[in-house]
Symmetry: C2
Subunit: 400 residues, 2 copies
């Protein structure tokens, strides 16, 4: 038998992070590569109780349920969203298998092969991969610390006539960037004018360290929910636990209904029992206090990594201290190719994600992403020390 895979599967041929994870498995390599929340932040005892309460409802928690999701959970999310200046009903909402699935479903119902999606550069690598798997053209827009460059956005809209823009405006992956209000409003204005849909991916919005008021989502700033030019997606992965694979999408009811139909074809529905248990947890749990604890813990870890890196007194290596999220984005001197540095680093016992994976094009090879939420204090110290040795060794071999 000779297998002949689809053309679109060619876009799946390499996953940098998977390869790194393979390298780090089963040995003593400390990984700063993943995007895993701290396991000690999961409300394990409360979740266990919530599952027990879910089973008290009997067999319905194990039966098929609605494709759009468990209604009490959707009603809970409606109330939560109202605290974020988002006014929606359950008909504007779809529960998904993590926010990742929301990106997939919207892509499939909204974009055809050769359609254009604009993205930040760098941006979330799995989103780039999903778009390419769909056969969609991914065009990067220039940007700075404030968000996308609005002039370049206008140029790219004129040149490529995109159907969609994909953005993570708050504590982006991988850069931890926060868009200014001016850029948020500018993006909305241009997209509305040109009838372009915005997919706002907001997995990290709650993980804020900087003491500022919460940053406004694009969805909340736009006319909504009816006729919104934004589809918003978020997840419980970072504020409760990722193993429940529960996220949600919000949007105009016509867009959401089309995503529901797609989900019905794709996997019928996400786990019933997980949704019932999650609702049971949330209905008796002080989520805001829990999030506050995650914020404090992650802020402390981030500050610690920042301090350890500062102590290294690296020359020509720069980064911005994150205001939230889970990642620290590092720029190396131009002669250091981070994918090559990774090999040295793995030999020293530490892993990270080379930045090149996050670029749709105009790839910079001298960047890398560090995660600070997974490792404990001691392991982080050891990991940064190993990273320092790797940089030192690499610099000895490759002279600028």
């Amino acid at each position: 038998m000779e297998y002949s895979f689809s053309k679109s599967s060619e876009a799946l041929s390499s996953s940098v992070v998977r390869e790194i994870l393979k390298l780090t498995q089963g040995n003593s390599i400390l990984s700063l590569a993943g995007g895993l929340p701290a396991a000690d932040s999961f409300p394990v005892a409360e979740m266990r109780e919530a599952f027990n309460r879910a089973f008290e409802q009997g067999s319905t928690s194990l039966q098929y349920g609605l494709t759009d999701g468990y209604l009490p959970l959707r009603q809970w999310i409606v109330k939560r969203m109202a605290q974020k200046q988002i006014q929606v009903s359950v008909d504007n909402m779809l529960v998904t298998t993590g926010s990742q699935q929301a990106v997939d479903l919207l892509t499939r119902v909204y974009l055809d092969k050769d359609d254009v999606v604009l993205v930040e550069n760098p941006t979330y690598l799995a989103a780039i991969q999903l778009f390419q798997f769909r056969g969609v053209r991914v065009i990067p827009v220039d940007g700075d610390d404030e968000g996308m460059d609005l002039d370049d956005l206008a140029n790219k809209i004129a040149k490529y006539r995109p159907k969609m823009v994909y953005v993570i405006p708050t504590f982006a992956n991988p850069t931890a960037k926060v868009w200014s209000m001016e850029r948020r409003l500018g993006l909305l204005r241009q997209c509305r004018e040109h009838n372009i849909l915005i997919l706002e991916d907001d997995p990290y919005g709650e993980i804020q360290f900087d003491g500022e008021p919460p940053y406004r989502s694009l969805f909340s700033l736009d006319e909504h929910p009816h006729n919104s030019c934004v589809v918003y997606t978020s997840t419980f992965s970072k504020i409760v636990a990722p193993g429940l694979r529960t996220g949600w999408a919000l949007g105009d009811e016509r867009v959401i209904q089309m995503m529901v139909k797609a989900k019905q074809a794709v996997d019928l529905q996400s786990s019933t029992i997980d949704q019932v248990a999650l609702y049971q947890l949330l209905s008796q749990f002080d989520l805001d206090s829990h999030i506050e604890k995650i914020r404090e813990s992650y802020k402390e870890r981030m500050e610690w990594m920042h301090e350890l890196m500062t102590r290294q007194q690296w020359e020509g290596i720069t980064w911005q201290k994150p205001r939230g999220g889970m990642f620290l984005w590092v720029t190396l001197p131009e002669h250091i190719i981070s994918a090559e540095l990774l090999k040295v680093a793995v030999a020293k016992g530490v892993a990270f994600v080379p930045g090149e994976a996050f670029y749709a094009s105009d790839t910079k090879t001298n960047t890398l992403r560090l995660n600070y939420t997974l490792l404990n204090r001691e392991d982080t110290e050891l990991a940064i020390s190993r990273l320092g040795s790797a940089i030192e060794e690499y610099s000895k071999v490759v002279v600028p």
Copy 2:
């Protein structure tokens, strides 16, 4: 904002079953339309204990896990499959969000737009919909009670050069058909000769009533796992509970690895906690006794529905007593259009799925599918009585 959906989303425009479910919600309509297992067959107490044991492992049950699935669960499935004359390793296996997702993933990595897939006629409607959502051409092959007609299969292979054949050879949805050994071997021979992949969907194989030895899967009859021309998928939905949304796919490791990459892009992984809990259940549970109880219960329900229908003494209405599975397939006199009959039936308080939804083309409008697993004895009696009234009323209006 004017939304402009993808071309492929047009295939999603109508879902007969969804529309029927809407009709039946929130009132006293008895539904023979769905494909829901009997809720009283779910091992609720054992599952609850299994979740508690999963939580004893601490936070890892709530963390991200491997895309291919929780390793102990995959190892358990390997052993189970060996009892079915299937020899695989964990590398030939992928855990999916129900077997529905396996169909989607394989379609996306193996078929491009305008590729051809051959199917039985009628066949599982959600598979037809998925193929059409992918832009794949769905071509039906003629068949009889023994399976696909091998001559027509040869003709269609010559004419359409298909890349894949999709079949449910054991207790099919909607017909409950069981393929003969001759047809199974004939399909394998032709597909191997022409390098065509077979997707064998086997959600109902364990639900056997007829006292015969278990029917051999195509996958077990083919050279496997390396170089197999079959990808096999099954699910825990019908033998444990559908709300866990846990299925699996088996195949050559190259095909499986491509599906794993697609799954990583699509939703990263299925629920960690559900997989850990399911493994905890299976490792301490007598699954075979449990399946035996389901078989007895479903056989009794099927016999009861068959008896009730026989008592109706309908003229010109025929069906075959199922040897297994969850559905009873009914052929009406040609002048009865089952989609029209449904309207009368809903007014009488009973729903079914009109057969036309299950045809890729050459649609027969005088067929319908009844589910016998969900309702209890009393409700089944009432439902068939209401169906009888509906047929009587319909026949008064529409004279052949």
